[in-house]
Symmetry: C2
Subunit: 340 residues, 2 copies
Amino acid sequence: MSQKRVGNFSIKFDNPPSIIGAATIAGTKEAEGRLASYFDQTLKDERFGEESWEKAESKMQKTVLQNAVAKSGLSLNNLDFIFAGDLLNQCTASHYGIRESSRPFLGLYGACSTMAESLLIGAMTIDGGFADHVACMTSSHFCGAEKQFRLPLEYGGQRSPTAQWTVTGAGCAILAAQGDGPYITGITPGRIVDMGISDASNMGAAMAPAAYDTISNHLADNNLSPDYYDLIITGDLALIGSKIVRDMFFKDGIDLSSHYNDCGNIIFFNEEQDTHAGGSGCGCSAVVFCSYLLEKMKQGEINRLLFIGTGALQSPGALTQGESIPGIAHAVSVQRSLLS
Amino acid sequence: MSQKRVGNFSIKFDNPPSIIGAATIAGTKEAEGRLASYFDQTLKDERFGEESWEKAESKMQKTVLQNAVAKSGLSLNNLDFIFAGDLLNQCTASHYGIRESSRPFLGLYGACSTMAESLLIGAMTIDGGFADHVACMTSSHFCGAEKQFRLPLEYGGQRSPTAQWTVTGAGCAILAAQGDGPYITGITPGRIVDMGISDASNMGAAMAPAAYDTISNHLADNNLSPDYYDLIITGDLALIGSKIVRDMFFKDGIDLSSHYNDCGNIIFFNEEQDTHAGGSGCGCSAVVFCSYLLEKMKQGEINRLLFIGTGALQSPGALTQGESIPGIAHAVSVQRSLLS
């Protein structure tokens, strides 16, 4: 048994990779949300000067990759790997966004868990001695996601109260073998959990049991209680999913109380912005992690963070064939300092 | 600079992971092809007893995962990670195939390069000390792929001479920290290369420049000539793409001659089976690698193998928006013995 493994599922790094830079870009609605001031850049229109939403999303990835590399004091040629994926069929936002980078690229598909998945694999490549610098990136686009996963916007469909609002945004973080932190100290990769939810407008409920599974495994493997972390934050469970997670832990006699929140709960002013249950999408956890959360760590307001990317492995094709929505969640433990 | 890195792009493992078992399943047309006798199992009908092609493909992944684990003398619980992906939108074959495994899962999207991508990442997690056993898996299905990427079969569309035949098949390989080989000794991850091909029926041409780039990088980084390998084999360039690769090397003064072939060239009897340029799809390289190639290594007919997964990062949506097809290729160096 490898000494880096902890418990049944988790891994602790010998040489925790440092997050040396990050960049974000967000859409027009996000620019009017709670976290607007934290984003590097916001769009004036959802097309970002391109002819389609999909091309706009590619340009967002290209932009944050360049900006994150520059903010890290590097050039693209310093990257040993780019790990990226997105929600579009065949991950087109990533492929066309990265096409001209000329750097080794490994494509991921973790639905909305992709930011955490990219950090998790990226951190392993650095701690394992396979890379000195890697980029971890993802994105989503409200218009492209609605068209592909639910209904074209032009239909003007009603949104149910459980529906979430896919964030238009992209985030990129650069990990390095050397740096001043924050550091990725450990990971807990997730298992697929499917409790039978088949409503594409209730993704929070579909993902919540997977988040509970991964957080439980992380705490048990590392023998921690939730208050070890200043914040345990899931990616895009939003109001309904995050309440389910709280309830599931409550049944175990664990009160997550103020130690827990969800990126989908804090990105929008839900009532004023009519975003129903809250934010979702790969871009939700990506822009919240790569801007707000890293900034709070830099300021010392958060010293220990457990970041859990949550993915609804939803497929319109599978749903029409009577399938339910499998969920997955990957956890990344981030610490401001290695001394604490 | 990490000591595991070699040259600009490649990695050499300190403790090369061993491939301790593998399993394959293939479709009805493959059962009449050149390599039929090497597959563990072939289908009697393309539905595999399911109601849809997509569900059949999921069942194929579920089946090869179970069989590969059993052939390795393990149980599912021994797997620290499953790395998998496929060609269906949202990688549904993998998600529904793995859903009940209850093991940590990291989803990949590398189009037809996924078998090599999963081996490449899986090998890093083992050499890096993050895992003792991992499963690397992918699949494709002719009917599902045609429906999604080109035309529904019911249209009875004409196939052009450059068209390839997507293999119906799934392959799974189990890597372990300890074992008797063959061993994954090194990797060369690929970059996206896009030379402007936009014909979805000419994937070989779209992928060939990426394969050339990765093979060239691998040979240069490791200071090798092609004859170091008993066989350099690409995943699914088939007749047209593999000829382009030969031509590109020939312009560099390098004659690949009998050291080079392509999985898409050897899986079917192309003329008799009317498969035009040859085989393609994630399943093509997966079933050829996990059956024929590993068997030839076991028999000592191949001692040093360079296996290159080739992916056309094609998206029907992007093509309708006027885009070309980006290609990618990932190389995995496999040796029968660590003494040679």
